[in-house]
């Protein structure tokens, strides 16, 4: 007698899987990371390689210790490692990277049961802990003090924050777009980030509602601040192209499990993140506010997701 196989409907399924999704985001991130590595050279490559490998190692180790099926092959930890490397300065010491990937992968993701369970964006969480723990190593002016480059290695956001908005004029938009500024390895090349973000939005992997409203939030708030006091605060273009703004809008705020899923909720979430970013930059103690803004909006995400359309016949 023939033994037929039994399964449950639907028998047609979309071919998109978790590894594929992770690889697409990695590919999009590389568009910004590769120019960054070309700008900062070997140290940047070393940080990236170490970050990706240790992130995968942490996940492997964690799965091994708690006796769970190994999930390294879904490339999500590789993605987390890659994204962490992108926000770190090229000169980060190895132990900062090692701690960072531990925080991101274990504290940010694995202890909640793996992908989909984490209430915070893992990279933002890990980076936030690093930022408050070793501010000196993550301050770009400190990190790049011994580095030589053919462009100004003063971090734009710090310069403007401490010395007034006149200095924003030192940075041409084209320079900022091409990555000729001090910043994280993968967050300086605006063109690469924009290309990666547009690619992911077109593929439907990240949601335009989050990314665009985040950028709008940043631009509008920066514009209002500039309107109030042009001498103290830089304009929207400067805020959009410096620091982690583009990276945050396309890669941090859009992290699946920590962001809302309904369109209106996503818009509110993105706008909130954008507004908080500029608030922290202009009025807070930290030079860049993206990491903290994303974390705060992550907190609000379950609440925001209650803004949802009425179900059929409900």
């Amino acid at each position: 007698m023939t033994k037929l196989r039994i399964a449950h409907a639907p028998f047609y399924r979309s071919a998109c899987t978790i590894p594929q999704r992770s690889l697409w985001i990695i590919g999009a991130a590389l568009l910004a990371l590769v120019p960054g590595i070309m700008i900062y050279g070997m140290p940047a490559l070393a940080v990236t390689a170490f970050s990706v490998s240790t992130a995968m190692a942490w996940e492997f180790l964690f799965c091994y210790i708690i006796g769970r099926r190994n999930t390294v092959s879904d490339y999500n930890s590789a993605l987390i490692g890659l994204l962490l490397a992108m926000v770190l300065p090229a000169t980060s010491p190895w132990w900062v990277v090692l701690t960072g990937t531990f925080l991101c992968v274990i504290l940010g993701k694995m202890i909640y049961g793996g992908m989909g369970g984490n209430p915070f964006c893992p990279v933002a969480l890990g980076m936030a802990v690093l930022l408050v723990s070793w501010p000196d190593y993550l301050d770009f002016d400190m990190a790049y003090r011994n580095m030589v480059a053919d462009f100004d290695l003063m971090a734009p956001l710090a310069l403007v924050k401490y010395f007034g908005s006149d200095l924003a004029g030192n940075y041409a938009v084209s320079d900022l777009l091409m990555g000729r500024q001090a910043g994280g390895i993968g967050t300086v090349c605006g063109i690469g980030l924009l290309a990666g973000g547009i690619l992911l939005m077109a593929r439907g992997i990240i949601q335009w509602a989050i990314s665009l409203s985040f950028l709008v939030g940043v631009a509008v708030t920066a514009f209002l601040f500039q309107l109030a006091s042009p001498g103290d605060y830089a304009g929207p273009m400067f805020h959009l192209l410096t620091g982690y703004t583009l990276f945050g809008a396309f890669f941090l705020a859009t992290e699946d499990s920590s962001s809302p899923v309904n369109t209106l909720a996503m818009v509110v979430y993105g706008l909130g993140g954008g507004v908080l970013t500029v608030l922290i930059r202009n009025r807070g103690v930290y030079v860049d506010g993206v990491i903290f803004a994303v974390l705060i909006m992550n907190l609000a995400s379950p609440l925001l997701d209650r803004i949802r359309p009425k179900a059929l016949g409900a």
Partner: protein
């Protein structure tokens, strides 16, 4: 497995399979040596069958369309789809473990239509439903009980239940005359004031003149679902827990209307079901086959061999049921038979929901699927129903189709609904006791 298009938003669009005019007409499958008629039964009825206490006995002569009454105690009847000799009455375990009564009949060459077929006018509403539900066709939502409100509007569905299926479109296109007579008969049976024909845009012309109005359904799956049509017709959504018939709406598929037309014109072929057969090679063949024919018989006509590990799917690819037995027979609502070696069928993964949100963007009922599936996985069925719209689900399968984590969402939804029904039944029984 369907590869996504490059652009994410267009990957969410699945269109119904259209009737291809260039394809040859349906292949008529000759009658098999043995026809099996199946009917769902209660545990009590199953007990009676096991003890051989049925009214119908082996050796009885039956005519096509004859009502085979099974038990003294109740009025369960099976319509015989052939003329011949009963060779056995027994129990059969169908898909999903359902207990069924099986009557096997050896058909004769010469076919005699039973007289009772032509007197459906004197049916009450309850038996007319039982009668119509044994005619070919997928969607039949007629009021079952007499205490329900009268039918205001009868909707004839020219759209399909699933992809790969063209049974109703075939009836709309090629059996129009029969449908006209069938709709007349249905009007008399249901006493509906108005008849609307719901058809996909490409068949608009065929729908004209059949009823009082034509309602165009989009080509996009699952817009031909009765609840979505009801929402458009009534201008408001019918509450999820309310049957559509309570709102005065009755849905009958075009194929059923055509079968009723055959009855009113006393034509042969009342129990011939039009269905699509998709073979392993991917070719689709439209066939006309008598209800009760074993699937094995149909496949043997096309020289399709089943081997270990194959899938045999009754119904379309998104809502069908996997069959464990090639001897399972064609039922009145089996619109397609899919045979697959399984290379294309992606299994489930053990990942949890990653909250990507694709499911709720594709859901036609706007259910928060990402939250619902978490509760269903943890078996919080009551909460799933109270706060996360479990009852609103149309069971179209799109969320499961699109799921990145490959979670069996549809299966969990169906399980959740089943468990809730069982819980309610228990409460009722407790209350009665």
């Amino acid at each position: 497995m369907i590869n996504n298009l490059f652009f994410g938003s267009s990957a969410l669009r699945l269109n119904y399979t259209k009737l291809d005019e260039s394809q040859p007409g349906p292949v008529t499958i000759p009658l098999p040596e043995k026809v099996s008629l199946l009917a769902g039964c209660t545990p009590v009825q199953a007990g009676l069958v096991a003890k051989k206490k049925t009214l119908l006995k082996k050796g009885a002569q039956v005519r096509t369309g004859q009502r085979l009454r099974m038990f003294e105690q109740d009025d369960l009847f099976i319509l015989s789809t052939v003329t011949g000799t009963v060779t056995g009455v027994g129990l059969y375990t169908g898909p999903l473990g359902r207990k069924l009564v099986r009557v096997t009949v050896a058909p004769l060459e010469e076919e005699v239509l039973d007289d009772s077929l032509f007197e459906p006018g004197n049916l009450d509403r309850e038996t007319s439903h039982k009668f119509i539900s044994q005619l070919p066709g997928r969607l039949r939502l007629l009021p079952v009980r007499g205490d329900l409100p009268p039918i205001n509007e009868l909707v004839i569905c020219g759209g399909e239940k699933d992809l790969s299926v063209i049974s109703n479109q075939y009836a709309m296109k090629h059996e129009r005359e029969l449908m006209v007579s069938g709709i007349d008969l249905l009007k008399k049976l249901s006493r509906a004031a108005k008849v609307t024909v719901a058809v996909p845009g490409s068949l608009d012309a065929c729908g004209k003149g059949l009823g009082d109005g034509v309602f165009t359904v989009s080509e996009q799956y699952p817009s031909a679902s009765p609840r979505l049509i009801a929402k458009k017709i009534l201008g408001r959504a019918v509450p999820a827990a309310t049957p559509l018939t309570r709102e005065g709406l009755a849905f009958v598929s075009a194929e059923t209307a055509a079968a009723l037309g055959r009855i009113s014109r006393k034509e042969q072929g009342i129990f011939d079901k039009t269905l699509s057969v998709v073979l392993k090679s991917g070719t689709t063949i439209l066939v006309k086959v008598r209800i009760g024919t074993p699937i094995r018989h149909i496949l043997s006509i096309f020289n399709e061999k089943l081997t270990d590990g194959d899938y045999l799917i009754a119904g379309g690819p998104l809502t069908g049921v996997a069959i464990h037995d090639p001897d399972y027979t064609v039922s009145p609502y089996m619109d397609a038979i899919l045979v697959s070696a399984g290379e294309d069928i992606l299994g489930n993964s053990d990942y949890g929901c990653i909250n990507c949100g694709k499911c709720l963007r594709v859901c036609p009922a706007s259910i928060p699927v990402n939250l619902l599936v978490r509760h269903l996985t943890r078996r919080n069925y009551v909460q799933a129903s109270d706060h996360f719209n479990l009852d609103s689900c149309l069971e179209c399968g799109l969320c499961t189709y699109i799921c990145v984590s490959k979670i069996p969402i549809l299966q969990r939804i169906k399980l959740g609904k089943m468990k809730l029904r069982a819980m309610k039944q228990e409460l009722i029984e407790e209350g009665a006791a």
